[in-house]
Amino acid sequence: MRKIVVSEFVSLDGVVEDPGGAEKFKHGGWSFKFRDDQVPKYKLDELKASDSLLLGRVTYEEFAKAWPSRKDDMGFADKMNIMPKYVVSTTLKKLDWNNSRLIRANVAEEVRKLKQQPGGDILVYGSGSLVNTLLQHDLVDELRLMVHPVVLGSGRRLFDDNAETLKVLKLAESRTFPSGIVLLTYHPTN
């Protein structure tokens, strides 16, 4: 069965809003202040190991604006543009980004179906609201948090502040990068 892998840039105070700087958030682009040569390599390996993206509406719109015109020597942009993208939204009508298809309703059920299909891992970037839905339905197989050494003080947080259920996780791995980013990898257990 295909795995759902959630991969997030997160500040020490749990903020995931606009790490890339495309959303007009006042701290937008905060993740760029913590770059080292190991992070891009890690992100490339992660992307190469996956064969589809699953995105919420906000993250999709940001990506769909930025990625089609990008090009890089590592092949990161090519992979982003070519790979299948599943987009969860009740409001979007059409998707312009190459190889994107819409999931309009019954998210949990649709994602469960995706997981049954043959193929490699499905990667989720950002998409905070979608991630909470996936967690609540026990659809996340791996959660990777790249914890940046900064307290932003404001912004949308990854985890719902008022979730009904407690989730116990299993720490699978932790890794420290030269920039002070710590990658924490968890597998949900319930």
Partner: protein, 189 residues
Amino acid sequence: MRNVVWLMHVSLDGFAAGQNGEIDWIRFDDDLIEDVQALVDSADTALFGRATYQLMESYWPTAADSPTASKHDLDHSRWLNPAPKIVFSTTLKNVHWENTRIVKDHIGEEIARLRKQPGKNLILFASPTLGSTFMNLNLIDEYFFNINPIVLGKGKPLFRDQNETRRLKLLESKTYKNGVVSLRYRGGN
């Protein structure tokens, strides 16, 4: 110069305690206790907010007297009970724990005064509300956060009402067998 060190156990979703103050999800094992004890031993004075103080005051004065007291209970009691303790509160009237005093206001001045005195570090135990105040006053030198592998869903948040963005320096990260990751940062901006 004495440093202010903040020791905090936190859930993966950033809560210091459950909705009703539950802290039973906080994981300890021998290695973690040893590292926490070393941190505590680098200090000689304990700092608390009101809620954490009251929780500690209801346990530690007699913890070592129990026949079921663990080695950690004994070690920590030996340090904590005689140590000078300061509780920052505008509402607390009385304290019943030895060597404890209440500070009502002028937190920054109090810490500045303590820093100038000779001695070991000052350790702030948990106290998420006071910790946030300390951060806003630039009073924290070192953070020792133990990230527990649990998403509580709701509870008492660790970081709230931060006035400004604060960039920290990672000193160390360490993984324990029980799934806790401790992240140690140097404060600053």
